[in-house]
Amino acid sequence: MTVLHTAVATTPATTSSTGFPVLLALLLLPLVGAVVVSTFRNEPRAAKLVALAFSVIELGLAVVALFVYRTGGARLQFSASADWVPSFGVHISFGMDGIALVMVAMIAFLVPVVLGASWAEKLPEGRSVAGFFALVLTLEALMVGVFAATDVFLFYVLFELMLIPMYFLIGNYGGVNRRYAAVKFFLYSFLGGLLMLASAIGTWSYVQSVTGNGTFDWATLTSVVSHAPLSTQLWLFMGFFFAFAIKAPLVPFHTWLPDATAEAPVGVGVLLVGVLDKVGIYGFLRYNLELYPAASRTLAPLLLVLSVAGVLYGAIVAAGQSDMKRFIAYVSLAHFGFMGIGVFAFTQQGTVGSVSYMVNHSLATGMLLLVVGMIAVRGGGSVRAEDYGGLMKVTPILAGMFFLAGLSTLSLPGTNSFVSEFLVLLGSYQTQPVYTILGTIGMILAALYVLWLYQRVAHGPIRGNALVGLAGGPGAAADPSVGARKVVRDLSGGERWVLAPLVVLILLLGFYPKPLLDVVNPSVTATVQQVSVQEGN
């Protein structure tokens, strides 16, 4: 923690420090916000407003960052570095490439939405609203840090720290089985993280033996370790692989995800599926592929098999879920597998498709989860699909939103996800036709089940325990044909404001994805080159 010195001097071609203050602000603002919010312990309304204000300013900063970013510029922009533990070559260094930047922008966009969606969240007895909002802001800062870290040690530190606010968010504010889900989530990720730490230390050790200088700087590690013999790379690859396979998650490391998603409050679930899991795919791209290209090529078949297994397994198991949150978790599992296919096919289009899918999946699935949460609020907290039916007749706007989110999830042309899915198919088919075809079958199944769920919940006669109560139940409007119908209101003004930005982005990116792809493209090119360039080794 000595004086800040920019990393420009060492590697002028790949890093640029322009705009670092913006990144610094992006990192610190949510932390300051968390501290401020936690002082409003007894004023829940003020706490919510302050938290929302901080998250909106953060979003503004992210937009500024998008404009500061130069598409044809250095690989890592906004970068700066300072020593942390000099004897081990550990730095506090941050910087973003295009992939990290769009993910950071995604986080900044989702957090205000999530805070808005949690506005009227019924917290368990005795839990403080300020605590909830402060934890979400803390999580935001750590998530931005994870994507922006350019020192492998720092990345690990933030990767593990990220678990703590999430653990408390699930364990303190979640559903009935929250303790089990929180501990399971924590232990799975912790184990993965520790194995990654072992690999990181191994990488450090290798670099030290080659150059005489141990360092955790990502760029230096990449330039040295990527030339390591295959046997070394394979071992080191595995540690990072386990961490990200658990995080992403790939089958068979996924079992924590349905529990955590089902038990977490809806807003937290959106962050979990929308951002935290993306760290896994991002990690594959940034760490596994770039640090260990030879091992990546060798193990690609294994990774593709796991990805395809994820797609098929997720799609098939989703069909058996009656809990709508679990259903979404399993459909996401299929989507993560599909992103995996795009990444491990090592083609430009496939990878661009996967990266843009990371963003689009957050939007689509995030919206789907939020809509399910809004349905659950109306149905007395039930998330079981059987408890609903004919929602279209009761709450047309809500059902319409459900439909839109569903369409985006199944990648209908005109919605955001279509572009990504198409690119993944296009790219992966060139090198991996068999896996791509198998994966596509799974995606079709997943799409089918989304439609089927929508049909069960929204169409047909009004039915289900959540909507139709016992005769003479509270607030019942008598309707002899269907029994006593409970009074259910359509979307409130606040809820419309929460969903509106998502709808706009889903349609906007569906028709005009170019800005997103432009930001992502150069970074993906660099990654794909890194994997494929040393084919001769």
Partner: protein
């Protein structure tokens, strides 16, 4: 034969060994003050004893630290040996002394507290039979046996000599000097007398066994090398055709004695019972300081005496480390008592420390030393917090009583969560940095598989730390749950010290890492 005494040996004056008083000032201060403390017990009137003993002990620790700092300013970097080579005062020894003094300060603060348990944690008269009428009378009177302070100082002096001992005989003597007071201190608890006395007897019997092992190993090694000096053993082991049986048999027995003190499984069986039965401040003292001293000695013995033969014995210590890590991690899950859980956690941690200690490289040494500091302070603070959660019957150490504690006392729950996360090795705590430095040293030394196993054991151990967090935060408090005492200045200071060091070493470890890596053992 007995009559044929060599007269020259009797008549030649024995040359007095030269003593470098500056180098050994710190342990001399501690041991001297311990003797003074005994005199206080004899001559100072009862009502002013407590105050004088506490004052003396704290002054002693400060004085010893001052002596250490003064010596450090012009200490030779390579270290010196003194008292005819029986003590080696080198960088690791000085580092360990500093660590021991700082940890002892924390422990003494806990021992001296009289506000949490009215009148202190110690019985006025250790010979009272449990359950007798006199015991109840003692509890009402609230007096306290102040011998615990000189006993602490004696143990501390023994520990300091233990980790600087350069020959096995000195090491054995200091082992006894540090152990005997500890056996006594275990039996002094004011509450739950039976458990406390049982702990003392258990610790004494098993400790005596371990000492016998140590002594037997010493004898075999003497037979092998004709010397008890560590460096002579190293010389003898390098390229001779003497019997390896003596060397490795002796080493095995010796190391068993040392591993016992460090509570490394499978020599750990005393640990849970003694941790639970002892008065909690004494547990803190044992958990932190004894571990430091024992691992200091293990490091010195392995590095100085047995480095040349490390290929032969390292596999065995690998196995011991693995057993210790997994046994501590797995059995900790099933515990229902906080102190017992921390005891198993200490067994797991002993395994992690051993992973670094057998690396026998510069990084291994500095990493292990760092781990000892970090772990010691976290332990002191952890036991400090445990003393605060009480019901009418003393400490409420059953885990079920900790349910919902976060609602009653958010600060205490927050502090304890932080300490548990440090024990689990979460980043930004000293526990993480210490695991990192130890494991990276081991990895550098080609112990990759051992490191992976250690990390898996860490995850298993994390599950029981998390269980306590779950209990404190996510469970509803019981209706007749324990109360959280407001700590007096002494306990507050001890906990604050431990927590601050845990945090600072986690965020900014560079300074202490540099100190720990400042030099190697003198020969």
């Amino acid at each position: 034969m007995a009559l044929s005494i060599d007269l020259t040996a009797v008549t030649t004056p024995i040359a007095a060994p030269s003593v470098n008083y500056g180098a050994i000032a710190a342990p001399l201060v501690v041991l001297g003050a311990a003797c003074l403390g005994v005199l206080f017990e004899a001559f100072v009137p009862r009502r002013s004893r407590w105050g004088m003993q506490v004052g003396l002990t704290l002054l002693t620790l400060l004085g010893a630290a001052l002596a250490l700092v003064l010596y450090l300013r012009h200490a030779p970097a390579a270290g010196v040996t003194t008292l005819s080579g029986t003590l080696a005062i080198d960088r690791p020894a000085l580092f360990l002394w500093g660590t021991l003094l700082a940890l002892a300060l924390g422990a003494v603060l806990l021992i001296a507290d009289r506000t949490v348990d009215r009148g202190g944690y110690f019985v006025a008269n250790a010979a009272i039979r449990p359950g007798a009428l006199s015991e109840r009378a003692d509890r009402l009177l609230g007096g306290m046996q102040t011998e615990v302070f000189p006993l602490t100082l004696f143990a501390l002096g023994g520990m300091m000599a233990f980790c600087a001992a350069n020959d096995l005989l000195t090491m054995f003597v200091s082992l006894e000097v540090l152990s005997l007071p500890l056996y006594l201190m275990c039996g002094l608890a004011r509450r739950r007398r039976l458990l406390s006395q049982e702990a003392a007897v258990k610790y004494f019997l098993l400790g005596a066994f371990a000492s016998a092992f140590f002594l037997y190993g010493l004898a075999l090694l003497y037979g092998y090398a004709s010397s008890v000096k560590l460096s002579d053993i190293a010389h003898a082991a390098a390229g001779t055709n003497r019997s390896d049986t003596l060397l490795f048999g002796g080493m095995a027995l010796l190391v068993v004695g040392l591993l016992f003190k460090a509570s490394v499984a499978p020599f750990h069986t005393w640990t849970p019972d003694v941790y639970v039965g002892s008065p909690t401040p004494v547990t803190a003292f044992m958990g932190a300081c004894t571990k430091v001293a024992a691992f200091g000695a293990i490091l010195r013995v392995l590095t100085v005496a047995f480095q040349a033969t490390s290929w032969e014995w390292r596999g065995v210590l690998w196995a011991v480390a693995i057993v210790s890590m997994f046994l501590g991690a797995v059995l900790g899950i099933t515990q229902s008592d906080v102190k017992r859980m921390i005891a198993y956690s200490s067994i797991a941690h002993a395994g992690f420390i051993l992973v670094g200690a057998i690396a026998l490289t510069g990084r291994g040494l500095s990493g292990t030393l760092f781990y000892l500091v970090a772990y010691g302070f976290t332990t002191i603070a952890t036991f400090g917090v445990i003393t605060l959660v009480r019901d009418s019957d003393g400490e409420a150490s059953h885990l079920s009583q900790w349910a919902g504690l976060a609602k009653r006392s958010p600060l205490l729950a927050g502090v304890f969560t932080f300490l548990l996360l440090a024990l689990a090795g979460i980043p930004l705590t000293s526990g993480f940095v210490s695991k990192f430095v130890v494991f990276s040293a081991a990895m550098n030394d080609g112990e990759g598989p051992l490191v992976v196993l250690a990390l898996i054991a860490s995850t298993i151990a994390a599950s029981y730390y998390l269980r306590v967090v779950v209990l404190m935060y996510f469970s509803e408090p019981a209706a007749d749950g324990p109360t959280v005492s407001v700590p007096g200045p002494f306990t507050t200071a001890a906990i604050t010290l431990g927590v601050l060091v845990t945090l600072v070493l986690g965020v900014w470890p560079s300074v202490v890492l540099d100190w720990a890596g400042g030099g190697s053992f003198a020969l």
